[in-house]
């Protein structure tokens, strides 16, 4: 019964969040809407980590690798194609490329028998290698077709989404597209996690070997979830590149890699909506600190992580949901 109440609270929280996202363009300034779109890109990144870490038990410390690959892939495609009508297919291709990269890495991880903390180490190593490689691509010889990789400064001039050559999406329509993408991704994941496949993933998270003994091809399921998470992170990265018109290697660096871990752990890795709420709050908090001149945003986020790990290991949003579920249960009248 407690789990049902928890699920109901999650649904209510999602409905409230979805309404808030839809209403935002009518309530806040265009500048804030634009900022919110970047938050949504990171929300997708957090959802991808919550999927594989919270629901399957795979701790990826390098989820930003797929975020960066998605951003670079979209930029490379669009800077070569140069046709605004091609932005949506390019976005789809970027998502698939990020998912393909995750599938390739996942194949070696899961079929190589790598599990538990070693997945975190491997994925972190991969993202740092990609970041280091991309940082040294500053010379004009480093290009893919007409797209200069740009080294430390990254790739610039990435075109925004467009419906046609004369109809480029402005900040608000871009935000609306990102909000729809986040809402649709959440609903898709909820649907998948409620399916047989999703139940199997939850079982793998709790007891991998036992789940295999019931006939589940655990490695294939882990690989599928990892690739799906790569697609979602890649979508976030592509939307981030579209939002800013640029993508840099630092999006795949150590600090960047730690951010989704902090955001997901702080909210509660076992719940997708908790990870979403936590990401939006911490992104807002972090940006507010940065824009007011404080240099300590990352330090404060680090403190948040330590406090959460020590005092609320299940995450503050999940803890609040559980508290609300308990209060709801105790306030119910006893029948008879």
């Amino acid at each position: 019964m407690a789990s049902r109440r928890f699920a109901t609270l999650e649904t209510i929280a999602f409905a409230v969040l979805a309404c808030a996202l839809v209403a935002a363009p009518f309530v806040v300034s265009a500048y804030q809407v634009s900022n919110l779109m970047s938050f949504l890109a990171f929300t997708l990144l957090s959802m991808s980590l919550a999927l594989i870490w919270g629901c399957v038990g795979i701790f990826s410390f390098g989820q930003v690798a797929f975020f960066g690959i998605g951003g670079y892939a979209y930029g490379i495609i669009m800077l070569n194609v140069q046709h605004p009508e091609f932005t949506f297919p390019a976005l789809l291709a970027a998502v698939l490329i990020a998912g393909g990269a995750a599938a390739l890495l996942g194949y070696f991880i899961f079929y190589g028998g790598v599990n538990d903390v070693f997945v975190g180490i491997t994925t972190l190593a991969v993202t740092l290698v990609i970041e280091t490689f991309m940082q040294q691509t500053a010379g004009s010889q480093w290009h893919v077709g007409q797209a200069q990789l740009g080294g430390y400064n990254g790739m610039t001039g990435i075109p925004p989404l467009a419906l046609s050559a004369t109809n480029t999406l402005g900040p608000v329509p871009l935000y609306v597209f990102a909000a729809v993408a986040v809402i649709a991704t959440y609903l898709l994941l909820r649907f998948l996690l409620a399916s047989r496949w999703g139940r199997g993933l939850r079982a793998i998270e709790q007891h991998r070997e036992r789940t295999e003994s019931f006939g589940y091809d655990v490695r294939l399921m882990q690989l599928g979830a990892f690739a799906l998470a790569g697609c979602i992170a890649g979508l976030g990265g592509a939307l981030y590149a579209i939002w800013g018109g640029y993508i840099t290697p630092s999006t795949m660096g150590l600090s960047a890699a730690a951010l989704p871990v902090i955001m997901v752990a702080a909210g509660g890795r076992s719940s997708l909506i908790a990870a979403m709420i936590s990401t939006l709050l911490l992104q807002y908090f972090s940006q507010s600190l940065s824009s007011s001149g404080s240099q300590y945003a990352l330090v404060i986020l680090g403190v948040v992580l330590v406090v959460v790990v020590v005092f609320v290991p299940d995450g503050f949003v999940v803890a609040l949901f559980r508290l609300a579920a308990r209060i709801g249960a105790s306030s119910k009248p006893v029948k008879g």
Partner: protein, 237 residues
């Protein structure tokens, strides 16, 4: 009736240690066999070899005439092998009903799944505790839940590794009746058990393992009169 399971000269080495040493074992379809032996005789290793949790060092395993030696555990489970592990293998955060659903959902149709879950909840006496997270069940209830999970996959061969470990006399007797009724329904059962009272209650035949080898085989009465078995195992019980 043909052999549902046969092991031919199966060995498992861990470095210099031979946990299983040339085991030949044949199990008839519909049989209820108990495996006994001193600690370290290689009983649990044998189950892990049959289920595919461990790869054999040499030898072959046949299940329903098919050589399954190289198949991974999940493929063996899809072919009709199921196990209740020695270390409890339930999903502690999930309800008893959800535990059964995960165990059964790959083996029964979507339409039949609710009926299968309710049937097993009833049979293992957990119908009223269906929504209880498995971590809050008693030890005996957890053991029964795990047996129910292993059976809800509707296996042809069920491996039970110490199903009564940690149970009191009443629970042990009830578990014995459950195992016999499962076997009466047509499921072949292979049980590792230390409790000779339980073995007497359920076993049709008994295989004794010692130092990774099949030491003796026969009915319960034959095994209990076997002088060497008395010396190495039963005398110490």
């Amino acid at each position: 009736m043909g052999h549902i399971l046969s092991l031919r000269n199966v060995s498992k080495r861990f470095g210099g240690l031979r946990a299983s040493d040339g085991i030949d074992l044949a199990l008839n379809a519909g049989e209820l066999r108990c495996i006994i032996g001193p600690n370290g005789a290689g009983k649990s290793t044998l189950f892990k070899l049959i289920m595919g949790q461990l790869a054999v060092s040499s030898g072959e395993i046949f299940f329903r005439e098919e050589n399954i030696t190289a198949l991974p555990m999940w493929r063996r489970a899809r072919r009709g092998l199921s196990i209740k592990m020695q270390v409890p293998g339930i999903y502690p955060d999930l309800s008893a009903r959800e535990n059964l659903r995960i165990a059964a959902q790959l083996h029964v149709s979507r339409a039949a799944l609710p009926e299968v879950i309710e049937r097993w909840l009833t049979r293992i006496g957990l119908l009223d505790a269906g929504e209880t997270p498995a971590r809050f069940l008693s030890h005996g209830q957890q053991q029964w839940l795990e047996i129910g999970m292993a059976l809800s996959a509707e296996p042809a061969l069920l491996l039970l590794d110490e199903p009564t470990a940690g149970m009191g006399p009443e629970e042990t007797r009830a578990t014995g009746e459950l195992v016999k009724s499962i076997n009466a329904d047509g499921t072949t059962v292979l049980v590792i058990e230390h409790d000779m009272e339980f073995v007497r209650q359920v076993a049709q035949r008994v295989t004794v393992l010692h130092y990774g080898r099949v030491f003796a085989e026969g009915s319960v009465a034959e095994i209990e009169q076997h002088e060497d078995v008395m010396r190495i195992y039963l005398g110490a019980v």
